[in-house]
């Protein structure tokens, strides 16, 4: 978190009819921080963003910015910049007028508007597109203009609602880096909603993993990957094998022998060993499936009727379906998870 709490959400609850969207959510966001709300669709991440924006009013809870309560303040008066998923540029206005719109609404002096438009257009590398209409631009350019439009009135917070999800994969990656660089340069407090873990891991200072209207875990990409608190986080970020502790042929210090909890193991942490060198810690299984995925190969191994996923670097032509394979799970790869699988 940044040096000071800038945005504070306290016990936010929101229902749509009988459907609960947010259930008692609390979160502090620091000044200049880039926070991502990550989760599957319907987890409440967009609703939470819209509550911050003032586009939804929570049924209960408080939103405050720098100590001022924001509940009851219309979105119009919050001076937060928002970039929506897509098609939010006013189709009847040129790029220039789209960007100038917020400045005119916020009563900027006339002679300050035009320089500011050029400034933000240069920021998003579209200095030469001012006269164009949205339909004349590509999807990536439209989202850049939307970003410029949101930034133009110098908002105190930038809110991004899945801004890249409608774009092609290549453009998406370009823009990810661009937005992150821009945010770092401007040091603007930013909240982004996404369902793409890679996007969140690449861009965010802190990731807020959400599920079914509650926050499951908050932390940096490394924390979430290395120390997921529960099965949901473990399986949502990266892949995770879930097995009984006994199946790993390992024991955890301090654990009672009759207790056999579920533990998680990342597929890339499982080590391949020579079948001939097998010892007591070795698991021997048969290769059920072997999939080449470019920089790594994913293997589905069956050990005593249970499946185990392995990810090995590079292309493995030596491993064929049906072959026997011996593996070992290092003690350090074991993740204790709070909840047992349902």
């Amino acid at each position: 978190m940044g040096p000071n709490v800038f945005l504070s959400l306290r016990n936010i609850t929101k229902r749509f009819g009988a459907v609960p969207a947010l259930n008692d959510v609390s979160l502090d966001i620091g000044e200049g921080e880039f926070v991502c709300f990550l989760g599957p669709s319907g987890c409440g991440k967009t609703t939470l963003l819209r509550v911050i924006a003032g586009l939804e009013t929570p049924d209960a809870g408080e939103v405050s910015q720098g100590g001022s309560n924001l509940i009851g303040v219309p979105a119009r008066l919050r001076n937060f910049g928002i970039v929506f998923q897509s098609y939010s540029l006013f189709p009847n206005m040129t790029v220039e007028r789209n960007i100038g719109y917020g400045l005119a609404c916020r009563k900027w002096p006339k002679d300050a508007i035009s320089p500011r438009i050029s400034e933000v257009l240069t920021l998003v590398h579209l200095g030469d597109q001012a006269e164009k209409y949205p339909h004349q631009l590509s999807g990536g350019q439209q989202q850049r203009v939307a970003l410029a439009r949101a930034l133009a009135p110098k908002p105190t917070v930038l809110l991004l609602d899945e801004p890249l999800s409608a774009l092609d994969a290549k453009v998406r990656e370009e823009l990810r880096a661009e937005i992150k660089d821009l945010q770092t340069a401007l040091r603007i407090t930013t909240v982004m909603v996404t369902h793409d873990q890679h996007e969140a891991m690449e861009m965010a200072d802190r990731i807020v993993v959400m599920n079914a209207g509650v926050i499951e875990q908050v932390g940096g990409a490394v924390d979430l990957y290395d120390q997921p608190v529960n099965r949901f986080v473990a399986e949502f970020i990266g892949r995770m094998n879930l097995v009984r502790l006994s199946a790993t042929k390992l024991s955890i210090a301090g654990e009672r022998s009759d207790d056999d909890p579920y533990v998680g193991i990342r597929p890339e942490h499982i080590e391949l060993i020579d079948v001939t060198a097998a010892d007591a810690d070795t698991l021997v299984g048969r290769i059920e499936k072997c999939v080449f995925l470019g920089s790594f190969t994913r293997i589905t191994l069956t050990v005593d009727g249970k499946r185990l996923l392995l990810e090995l670097r590079g292309r493995r032509t030596d491993l064929a379906t049906g072959a026997a394979l011996a593996v070992r799970i290092p003690a350090a790869a074991i993740h204790r998870l709070q909840d047992a699988p349902g």
Binding site: A75, L77, R78, L89, F90, A150
Partner: protein, 558 residues
């Protein structure tokens, strides 16, 4: 931050935005109450006024009169017969247009809409010129056909209501999921079976909607029964006879309520059905490609050509009749009927144009305003406004017009000054057709993503600013078409304004009726032609304006 109860609240004391919304609500709702609800209340009240005080006396007297069963029976007979014929013909017509590969679709499609742009009694006028006592058929072949009465009204109303049914059914048949038809073919279904099992079920909502719309149009139609009904009395003409003929307002009000009931039921049924109608077409649907099929296409072509020929013939007869010395005795070309030496000369035409321009202006503001406010309110208040806005669809023109006399010809009403002015004619037309104008605006506003509203809000744009700079410019073409709609309707409508015109404020459509009533059919025809020319010019002008402003493909017909 419960510890910071004293934290500065940024909530403004007076949110200017709320005031703006509230102001627009008032601007939209108050006139709806004054010009729709009050006249309806007036008519209900009047229907209970009897010589011995307030009571059901009028109803009892009317229901017990022998005339009651006959008039109600006549109205229902005409309405059901016409509805059955129209929907059948329009379905076949729309099917030929949408599901065959026949040539000439553009021309036929435009011709089918011709009756929308003619005064509502032109059909009857044309049929009288052809089959009437002094019609060209009877005179030439000496047949002695008596067209006045049931069949005259039915035939006229079939043509009068045809475009409405066609538009609905054409829209229903325009959408189809090719995948369904392909699977049926692969499974070995024959053409007839595919029609019965796929086409018909997928257009059933369109058929039901068209049925109720046509029923409403026919049962409330006044112009055609007036011209061709003879002694065959229907509810709409009966109101007129009671009020204008006998000065019996109470009885007029009773019949008005009687007419209101079936019309309202039909409208409610139609809205209810359309609400049940969930989209059967999804974004994954494949559009149906019509392939050539010789006999089917030729049958379709022959059928549409015959229907269009009849529609055109009726209008053409009226045009020809206006240019001959004395139809059908002296067929020499003459311009004498265009001298308009009676009844204020050509002044009613100018009055009509002026009233229609006012109606277009006011209609655009109130119906688009109502649509904008409805979208903004979203909640129960929005639903109430929606109901109030489409309420006029259920009110027959005759009933609304009579309600206007009852309310605005009352010295105790501060708005009495409106009575006898052109403004009240314009307002009457606006609120008579408010539902349709509102629904055009509503449809196009609902096509605008809410993201634009939210983007504008987050950038600091208020309600009015968003409306003015974002919403309205996006739907500009629809706004223009709402204006055109009100203009055209006001030019051709007869029923609502018939009670409100004075000798000074007479409008063209009423002139046609009065001229025909006075036995001057040729001049009535000439006046009708003038109305049609004005409408055609207006449509042409708007087309031109739209084309010059770079907007194409705008629907001017609804």
């Amino acid at each position: 931050m419960s510890s910071t109860a004293a934290a500065t609240r940024l909530v403004p004391k007076f949110d200017t935005d709320r005031i703006a919304v509230l102001a627009l609500v008032v601007v939209v709702v108050v006139p709806l109450l004054v010009f729709v609800v009050a006249p309806l209340v007036g008519i209900f009240k009047m229907s209970f006024v009897t010589a011995d005080g307030i009571g059901f006396g009028n109803y009892v007297r009317y229901v017990n009169s022998p005339k009651f069963a006959k008039v109600v029976g006549n109205s229902l007979a005409v309405a059901t017969t016409t509805t059955a014929i129209t929907v059948l013909l329009a379905y076949a017509f729309a099917y030929a247009m949408r599901r065959t590969a026949m040539p000439g679709k553009r021309v036929f499609g435009s011709m089918a809409l011709l009756p929308l742009f003619a005064p509502s009694l032109v059909q009857a006028l044309g049929i009288v010129f052809l089959f009437g006592r002094n019609g060209v058929i009877n005179r030439t072949f000496n047949l002695g056909i008596d067209i006045y009465g049931f069949w005259g009204i039915v035939i006229s109303d079939v043509f009068y209501s045809f475009p409405h049914a066609y538009l609905i059914l054409s829209a229903a048949l325009a959408v189809a999921d090719a995948r369904l038809y392909e699977s049926a073919q692969v499974l070995g279904a024959t053409g007839a079976r595919i029609f019965r099992d796929i086409t018909l079920p997928s257009t059933k909502y369109g058929i039901l909607s068209a049925t109720f719309v046509v029923f409403t149009i026919v049962i409330t139609d006044f112009g055609n029964p007036m011209v061709i009904g003879g002694d065959y009395s229907v509810l709409a003409t009966e109101i007129y006879n009671q009020v204008s003929g006998q000065g019996n307002f109470q009885m007029g009000a009773v019949i008005g309520v009687m007419l209101l009931v079936p019309a309202a039921l039909a409208v409610i049924a139609e809205k209810w059905i359309m609400r049940r109608h969930h989209a059967t077409i999804t974004e994954r649907s494949q559009p149906l490609m019509v392939v050539r099929e010789r006999w089917r296409d030729r049958t379709g072509l022959a059928f549409t050509a015959v229907i269009c020929g009849l529609i055109a013939a009726i209008v053409l007869v009226v045009v020809v009749a206006s240019f001959v010395t004395l139809w059908p005795y002296n067929m020499h070309v003459s311009l004498r009927h265009y001298r308009f030496e009676v009844q204020n000369g050509l002044k009613p035409l100018w009055t009509s144009i002026w009233v229609s321009l006012m109606a277009a202006g006011i209609g655009v503001v109130v119906s688009v305003g109502a649509a904008c406010v409805t979208r903004r309110l979203r909640n129960l208040a929005g639903q109430c406004l929606y109901f109030l806005s489409i309420l006029p669809a259920a009110v027959p023109g005759m009933v609304l017009g009579l309600g206007y006399i009852l309310v605005f010809n009352d010295p105790s009403n501060p708005l009495e000054a409106l009575y006898g002015t052109l403004l009240i004619l314009a307002l009457c037309n606006v609120y008579h057709y408010h539902a349709q104008g509102y629904l055009i605006a509503m449809t196009s506003i609902n096509q605008i993503s809410r993201v634009f509203d939210e983007a504008s809000t987050s950038l600091g744009g208020g309600f009015i600013k968003t409306l003015w700079e974002v919403t309205l410019p996006i739907i500009a073409s629809s706004i223009i078409s709402v204006g055109v709609f009100f203009f055209v309707r006001s030019m051709v409508t007869l029923s609502a304004v018939i009670f409100l015109v004075t000798p000074v404020t007479q409008v063209a459509a009423v002139s046609v009726l009065l001229l025909d009533d006075a036995g001057n059919a040729n001049q009535a025809a000439a006046f009708s032609v003038c109305i049609m020319v004005v409408v055609a010019l207006a449509l042409l002008l708007f087309r031109l304006v739209l084309r010059m402003s770079g907007r194409r493909n705008v629907l001017l017909i609804h």
